[in-house]
């Protein structure tokens, strides 16, 4: 009896403490007449200090007491879950546009944690530039709960060592048969001319990653093909994928594919295989390329020249790669702001300001807004060769803004190639940009559609297929068993998955399209 009383007392105490802890937060905005705005977002790399000069500039400009917290991306999910569960939802919450974090966005939006933004999206210049298919992806039950963060259409696509092609007198491949011949030639004909058998064709890592689709037709993440009932099916079970797996298996047999790819991490594929000059074919995109990697390749092979492989003509006549998701991530606002429209407007103003796009010519100290965003010349950045070079991230207001990606009016407006200082990389990215501008892209109908079964089983189902397909590449399972594998997948829940995805596609009145 004594024990029971003790426990009850203890529990009551804990509860009381936690209630008290919750209630004193959120409403202490009266201080100095400034609005307190809290934010939480993931960050790649190191978080900025919590009281940097850049933050002070934001507080002065927008007359707020802005308290952003940036969490290392690898641990963001756990931290955010704890914070959300504590009931203390930050005013602004940033999400990644992929993986578990993306799912959480939809889950919490469904549970009512976030504010519907439909009435605001017409009021801000950078929101008006967002295409409808991107807003569609932000919807839960017909309402918009997030502001998409800019992401270019240009997905990573295959690139090839042009210096090797030239050395062996080979042409740029235009179909998989030719690509196979090139990959085998890279393996057997000593393209680097050092007399050693130390090169091969295609660099690959675990999970059959990267995907060497030469167009949306072969892309395993695209919902492009349809089955007999006219339903979309995931690319990973399509006949086109089967053809691609056969292609990999043929290469693997010839030693033209990374030998122990099934166990190789993505970092190693980069640093120990392709950028170490061992393989001749890899992937790249105009944006987000690593200069240190390129430099390490140039150290081994100073003559290395990378060029994009243009998309192949597919059997159905289509030609072009899949477009990237139209959002890199999304920014949501807390549902608690529903009765504080003034605060919502102030927040959206801040978000809008960070999203304004400046062409390269306008990224100069003469442009006041740009100069402010980057923390003033000489403090947050310096001009080098006509380009702004960031110096101290903590001095730049953009470091602290919830969304700092400029929403470019078109892919070519970005001119990503200007960002690189390694000439070979600038060259490659320029060509990639051209290729993407000149070719059409397939827009996936499934962006932002995450039915329940996807959350419960999506990962497991995909992993099953990836594992079986890995076995097929290395010859542990015959590719003749493809249909059997697809059937196993359907029985494990794949059929339900396809059904639910298609229902959601129809409910959202969407379809895949080329543009």
């Amino acid at each position: 009896m004594k024990f029971k009383r003790f426990m009850t007392a203890g529990l009551t105490l804990c509860l009381a403490a936690s209630v008290a802890g919750c209630s004193d937060n959120g409403e202490k905005s009266a201080e100095n007449g400034k609005m307190t705005i809290t934010a939480m977002k993931y960050i790649y790399g190191d978080p900025p200090p919590i009281d940097g000069p850049g933050l002070k500039k934001i507080n002065e400009k927008f007359k707020v007491d802005y308290q952003p917290r940036f969490i290392p991306e690898a641990d963001y999910d756990e931290k955010l879950t704890a914070v959300m569960a504590s009931g203390d939802v930050p005013d602004i919450v940033g999400f990644k546009g992929f993986g578990v974090n993306e799912m959480k966005f939809y889950t919490w939006a469904k549970q009512g944690a976030f504010l519907p933004l439909d009435e605001y999206i017409k009021d801000y210049p950078t929101f008006k530039m967002v295409p409808d298919y991107a807003w569609d992806a932000m919807k839960v039950d017909g309402k918009i709960y997030g502001i998409p963060e800019y992401s270019p259409v240009s997905e990573v696509t295959p690139v090839i060592r042009k210096d090797w092609l030239d050395k062996l007198g080979l042409k740029m491949p235009t179909n998989y048969e030719e690509l196979k011949k090139v990959a085998i030639a890279f393996t057997k004909q000593d393209p680097d001319g050092n007399g050693k058998d130390d090169t091969y064709g295609i660099a690959m890592g675990q999970n059959i990653d990267p995907d060497y689709n030469m167009g949306a037709y072969w892309d395993y993440t695209a919902w492009y093909h349809k089955n007999e009932q006219g339903r979309y099916i995931p690319g990973i079970i399509s006949d086109a994928r089967k053809q691609l797996i056969q292609f990999y298996a043929d290469l693997y047999k010839e030693g033209a594919l990374t030998r122990d790819f099934a166990l190789m991490s993505w970092g190693d594929v980069n640093s120990k295989e392709f950028y170490a000059g061992k393989a001749g074919i890899f992937i790249a995109a105009p944006q987000g390329m690593s200069e240190p990697y390129m430099q390490s390749l140039l150290q081994v092979h100073p003559e290395a020249e990378l060029v994009p492989i243009p998309p192949f003509q597919a059997p159905d006549g289509s030609k072009g790669f899949r477009a990237r998701k139209p959002y890199f991530g999304m920014t949501a606002l807390s549902a608690k702001l529903a009765d504080q429209p003034e605060k919502v407007k102030r927040i959206l103003e801040m978000i809008d300001f960070g999203r304004k796009f400046y062409p390269w010519e306008e990224r100069t100290p003469d442009n006041k807004d740009f100069d402010w965003l980057w923390g003033h010349q000489g403090e947050g950045y310096v001009m080098k060769g006509g380009k702004p070079v960031a110096q101290k991230p903590e001095s730049q207001p953009r470091t602290y803004l919830p969304d700092k990606k400029g929403w470019a009016p078109s892919l070519e407006a970005n001119r990503y190639s200007m960002e690189y200082n390694v000439p070979q990389l600038a060259n490659l990215t320029r060509q990639l940009e051209q290729m993407h501008v000149q070719t059409k892209h397939y827009f996936n109908p499934v962006n932002g559609i995450i039915p329940e079964i996807e959350q419960q089983k999506g990962e497991e189902l995909r992993q099953f297929l990836i594992n079986e397909q890995t076995k097929m590449i290395v010859g542990q399972r015959p590719i003749d068993e493809w249909d059997q594998m697809v059937q196993e997948f359907l029985n494990k829940g794949g059929a339900q998955w396809i059904k639910e995805m298609n229902e959601a596609i129809q409910a959202g009145n969407r379809q895949g399209f080329w543009k």
Binding site: G21, I71, P72, K79, S86, P210, G288
Partner: protein, 290 residues
């Protein structure tokens, strides 16, 4: 000493060989990390396996030791380890001693200790309590929520039970009060126990990263493990099936990662030899007494 036969010697040699192999598997990662950390990036990417640097390059170490964040986090961790271990030992030994003596309510406390040992609260309830007590963003959030480890408490109580009550009685006759008995008689007798548990606690403080990540929003207060994870994990982008290959910041080179691992492990490693002799005695606590 009996005469050594040939089979004896064979067994010895086999023993030595097997143990050497096992020891090497433990040492190997360290050797590799050591070698890579002193190699140049190009040497690293060119060779499959480095066990000794070809050319000694200290770039990685210079880079790390120049970074303010790394050094600052070492100070934070040093503080948390010293202060945390002190708090741990104080609270654990006092509570364990009290529970080893016949006191009222002792059974119920014992039950509760056992209860928390078997059923630990999850991440979110703990987070709620830390938040409610205002410890968020304070380094004490790394120390107070883990002030007592119930397993350690149970074992230490077992140790105290072996100290005969006659000692207490003798002390009482000499006029000592409870605190005097504890500090002047019990604790001096418990040095091996304190050393062993101190080491357990210290290592767990040193290696703890998750609490730091969860409770500290200010990167300036981060302990070394969070910074280390930052350096190492960022270098290994999530190659998920979605294929998210595009990062804002390129990963730091592997050599820097390895140097960071070494620098973050070294300090706690150095403590081991000094506590070795107590430690060997200490881990036997609670087992059969001779």
């Amino acid at each position: 000493m009996h005469h050594r036969t040939l089979p004896d010697r064979v067994v010895d040699i086999l023993n030595a060989a097997v143990l050497a192999v096992i020891a090497f598997t433990m040492l190997f990662p360290f050797i590799y990390i050591f070698a890579v950390s002193f190699s140049s990036l190009s040497a690293f990417s060119q060779s499959d396996l480095i066990l000794w640097p070809e050319k000694w390059v200290t770039d990685a170490y210079e880079y790390i030791l120049e970074s303010e964040a790394f050094i600052r986090s070492l100070y934070v961790t040093a503080f948390v380890t010293v202060a945390g271990t002190f708090v741990n030992l104080t609270v654990t030994s006092m509570m364990a001693y009290a529970l080893s003596r016949p006191i009222t309510g002792g059974r119920m406390f014992q039950f509760m200790v056992l209860f928390t040992f078997l059923f630990t609260p999850g991440m979110i309830p703990t987070y709620l309590i830390v938040k409610a007590t205002g410890l968020i963003d304070s380094v004490w959030s790394l120390i107070l929520p883990a002030a007592v480890n119930s397993f350690n408490l149970i074992v230490m109580r077992q140790f105290f039970l072996n100290i005969p009550n006659e000692l207490n009685e003798a002390a009482v006759i000499d006029g000592a009060n409870d605190l005097q008995i504890f500090f002047r008689i019990i604790l001096p007798l418990s040095k091996p126990a304190l050393a062993a548990f101190g080491l357990f606690y210290a290592v767990s403080h040193w290696n703890n990263y998750f609490a730091g990540l969860l409770y500290l929003n200010d990167p300036a207060k981060w302990p070394i493990q969070v910074v280390l994870r930052q350096i190492v994990v960022v270098g290994e982008p999530t190659a998920t099936l979605g294929g998210q290959h595009l990062l804002e910041n390129p990963p730091p080179p592997e050599t820097v990662q390895m140097a960071a691992i070494l620098l973050a492990t070294l300090p706690i490693l150095i403590i081991y030899p000094f506590l070795q002799k107590h430690f060997a005695k200490g881990v036997m606590l609670g087992s059969i007494k001779g």
